[in-house]
């Protein structure tokens, strides 16, 4: 990605500064002159949205932490104190609680976009793995944040999830006791969750830095899935990408505001407005919506240890995606068969989410098992095999060409790979 104009400091101060700390040059080359493929669609704006959401969560979270008390006897009431007596406390809390949902929504869209357009493929494997690490960190952070208000769901979610570790043979029980800091979920658990909930977002911010660094090393993928070849194939990040990102961010914020101001408790569970009570188990313990697919996978498997392993594997398997997908064509645009399997995968993930909210009985379990099987088969069977046998469509010569033809295939399809059996 060379050849774009370098930073020319305009003021004497910036010239002075640039010789000592080239921050202006870094920002200029990363966010102004950085060449982005000209054919990026709106699915590419979610990276910026995610960065914005991380900022929202950290800013609201830091202020909430000033008013919150991490103690089993005061946590619930201190959250209500924020809602009642802190100026705009209701806004901070609803922004933070709904912000977590928006964060996950954007992350899932970002992830599915990467899968659809093959953004994980060579040379973007490390970029992709950093993304999987970010997802893992987000899952941990979100879970611990959900425990902090110390409502019924907080308490029982903490109990259920920490108990998963008891499935580990021999040392499981000791690990759970160590995690709890006692013999049940209690004040030490709440305190360490609070500490880690404050710490992890900054770890996320650090990994986001690496993620962006890796991105700027290899450049962005694009809907055509062919690398930029000429100057014509790219446009400067500013103003082109900045304005496009800003527009969709504003639209995203409209949806965010709809939840925060009008239906702030829609995504929450009423039981979490009941103070935690270790003596009363809620009728159905359900996690937040963004964990439901993983929860469904956990419960689909009758053996506890295997269920926990499947839960872990369902996330970790994403890290191996660059090597599980054997196709050399990146974009699903030119992979008609992959496209079908991809959309089936999306439906399966949504289906698992729905099943995760249902009690584990009757047909729900049956469907959860079928969907779980597809989830893993997609990675372990479909992707490795499909890459070898799929007839892909002809790739455009360049990004410019794909723009010119509006993504429609030109000419005859490419000959099938040598290994294909027809």
């Amino acid at each position: 990605m060379s050849g774009h104009p370098s930073y020319q400091p305009q003021s004497a101060f910036m010239r002075w500064m640039e010789r000592r700390l080239p921050l202006g040059g870094l920002i200029y080359s990363s966010f102004v002159a950085y060449p982005t493929p000209r054919n990026l669609n709106y699915w590419w704006t979610f990276g910026g949205i995610l960065a914005f959401m991380l900022g929202v969560q950290i800013v609201t979270g830091v202020v909430l932490a000033m008013h919150y008390t991490p103690h089993v006897d005061y946590a619930f009431d201190s959250v209500e104190q924020i809602m009642r007596d802190v100026n705009y406390g209701w806004l901070l809390r609803y922004l933070h609680a709904n912000g977590a949902s928006m964060f996950f929504l954007a992350a899932y869209i970002h992830l599915f976009r990467g899968m659809y357009y093959g953004s994980y493929k060579e040379p973007r494997e490390v970029l992709w793995i950093l993304g999987v690490i970010l997802l893992l960190l987000m899952i941990m952070t979100g879970f611990m944040g959900y425990v902090l208000p110390w409502g019924q769901m907080s308490f029982w979610a903490a109990t259920v999830i920490t108990n998963l570790f008891s499935a580990i043979p021999l040392v499981g029980e000791s690990i759970v006791t160590w995690l709890w800091g006692g013999f049940a979920v209690g004040n030490p658990t709440l305190n360490r969750f609070y500490s880690l909930h404050y710490l992890l977002p900054f770890v996320i911010a650090g990994v986001v830095g690496l993620h962006i660094w890796a991105l700027h090393m290899v450049g962005q993928n694009n809907p055509a899935g062919v690398e930029p070849k000429t100057e014509q194939d790219t446009v400067a990040f500013t103003p082109y990408a900045t304005i496009k990102d800003s527009f969709l961010l504003a639209v995203f914020c409209i949806m965010f505001a709809w939840f925060v101001f009008y239906i702030p408790n829609f995504l929450g569970h009423p039981d979490n407005y009941i103070p935690a009570n270790p003596a009363v188990t809620p009728m159905h313990i359900v996690p937040e919506w963004y964990y439901l697919p993983f929860y469904a996978i956990l419960r689909a498997i009758p053996n506890k240890l295997l269920g926990v392993m499947a839960l872990g594997a369902s996330i970790l398997i994403l890290a191996f995606l660059p090597w599980l997908d054997t196709s050399r064509v990146r974009s699903a645009r030119y992979r008609p068969a992959y496209r079908q399997f991809f959309w089936a995968f999306v439906i399966v993930c949504i289906g698992l989410g729905w099943l995760g909210s249902k009690p584990p009985e009757g047909n729900y379990v049956l469907f959860a098992r079928i969907f779980t099987a597809y989830y893993f088969a997609f990675f372990l069977v479909i992707l490795p095999v499909l890459g070898k046998i799929e007839r892909t469509k002809a790739l455009p010569n360049s990004i410019s060409e794909s723009v010119l033809r509006e993504g429609k295939p030109i000419g005859a399809p490419a000959p099938p790979p040598a290994s294909a059996k027809v």
Binding site: A250, I254, A257, V260, I263, P264, P270, Y273, M283, A414
Partner: protein, 293 residues
């Protein structure tokens, strides 16, 4: 579109075999939905209703149920029941709250002040259980702590209709849902009452409301139905005291964001216009030159 239909078809396919199983499991009817003045994007509490609801709380609920998160001062806050500060002070003074230690270190009860919260009717849960065989829940956030399963596809519609009143609708139904005798074939444990809307139907709370139990001076009907609605609305306010401010700010934020989005959209169009303007510079090559996948 085809994809959307596929998702819908799949959802229906999945829901169909599961639905009858659920119907047998809970015979609890869905609470009827009411029209609330505080529903929707422009929602505001009905001051008269909140004051009547407060009267119901004071004369009926308060005997057993605490409101420990609600401070007397908030009764005079904007967006609430709109009592004057003098009225709120007078209300506070009618309560005896636990005082501060005096010079001798003795703690005596004293009349409530604006800064105090409603004193609980029982010193602890054990005392409540000893008396009523159950712990009457604190009512401060009860309107958000209760609800009912909306089911698919109604919950999707709720996003757009902004239906957030499951809690109050449930409370209103519960207060009117008592039946003198459980239906044939249903037995409930002693010292409990049959209620149509309560999960499991056996509720420890005796029917709290009867017609004419609380005197209304503003001409509102003194019926169980009206009492149930008024107390539910009051409890919605105690659960969400800044609801009006929230919805008002929401509208301002909305107008701002929509104008901003529109401006950004047209700016984006303008910026990208130059890129779209010269497609002829992009020369396609013949298929023979296509790279192999």
């Amino acid at each position: 579109m085809a994809r959307a239909r596929a998702v819908l078809a799949l959802a229906v396919l999945l829901a169909a075999p599961c639905a009858p199983a659920r119907a047998q499991e809970h015979e609890t009817p869905a609470p009827p939905t009411n029209r609330w003045s505080f529903a929707g994007p422009f929602g505001k509490f009905d001051r008269g209703q909140l004051q009547r609801g407060f009267k119901v709380y004071r004369e009926v609920c308060q005997v057993c149920h605490a409101l420990k998160l609600v401070a007397f001062r908030t009764l005079a806050d904007p967006g609430g029941p709109a009592f004057t500060t003098a009225q709120a002070t007078a209300i506070a003074a009618e309560y005896q709250v636990k005082g501060e230690p005096d010079e001798q270190g003795d703690v005596k009860d004293r009349p409530g002040r604006l800064a105090d919260t409603f004193p609980p009717p029982f010193p602890n849960d054990q005392a409540a259980r000893a008396r009523y065989n159950a712990v009457p829940p604190d009512l401060s956030v009860i309107a958000k702590a209760r609800g009912y399963e909306r089911g698919f596809p109604r919950w999707v519609g709720d996003i757009f209709t902004q239906y957030q009143e499951q809690g109050v609708d449930y409370l209103t139904a519960l207060l009117q849902g008592y039946k003198d005798k459980p239906p044939a074939g249903v037995t409930i444990p002693p010292a409990s009452f049959y209620n149509e809307y309560f999960p499991g139907h056996a509720i420890a709370m005796p029917p709290p409301l009867t017609d004419n139990r609380v005197e209304y001076t503003d001409g509102a009907p003194m019926t169980v139905e009206q009492y149930a609605k008024d107390i539910s609305a009051f409890l919605m306010w105690t659960a969400e005291p800044h609801l009006e401010a929230r919805k008002r700010s929401g509208m301002q934020v909305f107008i701002f964001l929509i104008v901003l989005s529109a401006l950004l959209y047209f700016t984006k169009k303008k910026v990208w216009h130059a890129v779209k303007l010269h497609p002829e510079e992009l020369k396609p090559r013949p298929p023979s030159e296509y790279p192999r996948a």
